[in-house]
Symmetry: C2
Amino acid sequence: MGHEVLAVVLQVRDHVLSVLLWQRARPPYEGGWALPGGALGVAEGLGPSIRRQLKQKVDVRELTHLEQLETRGAPDRHPLTRVLATAYLGLIPAGVDPLTPEDTRWHPADRLPDMAFDHAELVDSGRRRLRSKLSYTNIGFALAPPVFTLSELTDYYRAALGYEVSATNLQRVLLRRGQIQPTGASAPPGRYGGRPAALYRFRVRELEVTDAFAVLRPPGRIAPQVG
Amino acid sequence: MGHEVLAVVLQVRDHVLSVLLWQRARPPYEGGWALPGGALGVAEGLGPSIRRQLKQKVDVRELTHLEQLETRGAPDRHPLTRVLATAYLGLIPAGVDPLTPEDTRWHPADRLPDMAFDHAELVDSGRRRLRSKLSYTNIGFALAPPVFTLSELTDYYRAALGYEVSATNLQRVLLRRGQIQPTGASAPPGRYGGRPAALYRFRVRELEVTDAFAVLRPPGRIAPQVG
DNA sequence: GATGTTTTCGACTTCTGGTCGAAAACCCAG
DNA sequence: CTGGGTTTTCGACCAGAAGTCGAAAACATC
């Protein structure tokens, strides 16, 4: 009964939420697309293992976030042997384009190719996780480069959420929650001019949960961190 | 490299969030308290396995909710061999008192006894999961009996969340979200009288996510399901 | 300098949740 | 059966968060 680790690596590429896949050259599922990953080493932890495996497909230094997603153990999920799989969700900020091997491609997350094993379900699971965490955590930092304009950030949110997002609301909400702050600088205007956009950065670049959203907050209200 | 499944089974008992534990009779961690669970069968899925294992400690028909929590794979989490563990979160509604074996007891979730392996961390993980899901899902149904008064429901929420909850707010919020609905009947008043409490039930007794809480809701607003 | 483009900001509105206190509906004691 | 105690329920009011809209700001090109 083997155990493997897999990763759903997501990135907003060219306005589209995309997932990193590689094409299998051998059966089973020859020609099918699969998530990066591989067998867990005998004395290896799950987290270290997925980082090691990912190195074969992408530059892991670009990974801004990595968290465990779920473990699949259906006896027939692999047609030949019994393999449990623990899947991780990894995020890469927009803007960078990490080197990848020949067999590896980015695919739009909502139009997957022929997928091997149960990997399509895992991709969906990752998308749902990202979607929901965007609303009650600061996980947006993992989708955005260190510095960005509000239009760009709005675009990352729209791509990840799958629906239109209002830049005005996004700005107000993230500012009030203390997630983003202006750097002071501004970006050069685009091709046809327009007001130069202010540059922002995430105040904290690691996962934090927004404590709002309780049926009833604890009596001693925590003062909201406003700039 | 073995694999086991474990369950953090929670129930509000006598106003206190409690977890089901059994006391180990043999090393390692002799005398320490552990989560129910055991080795995964060779041709057994994870979900079926945890249900099978739980039967040895509690009546699984009382379980109103069961979901995967996380998988632990640190090489040294078991002192003798390598064992991966996939933990589940199980919930039992208040009011029932399932039969349990001699070695098994309910313990307050915030004052755990000497725990075996990494099981204390898993209990905390389960508590956090429950806490957060109480605010953006209807998971309260799994803590409450089929029919309940608002005072009782408030008590379950208070016990699970760890802080005081206002019955007025809870009622308004859950009604507006369409999670609960009055049955029409009312409960008999208590020992010293008092207005008889109206009885409520959860409209749906399986997990549903409340779609509120988006940075920006999708344009076509879903009409809130109000009674 | 006029026009077009993009960003930013403020004003207004709506929705959700928090607080409080009065009224309702019961019990019991005298 | 009347008054006091108890618990639940409900309405009124307020604060805060979010949605919508449009005008103003700051650039470019012609």
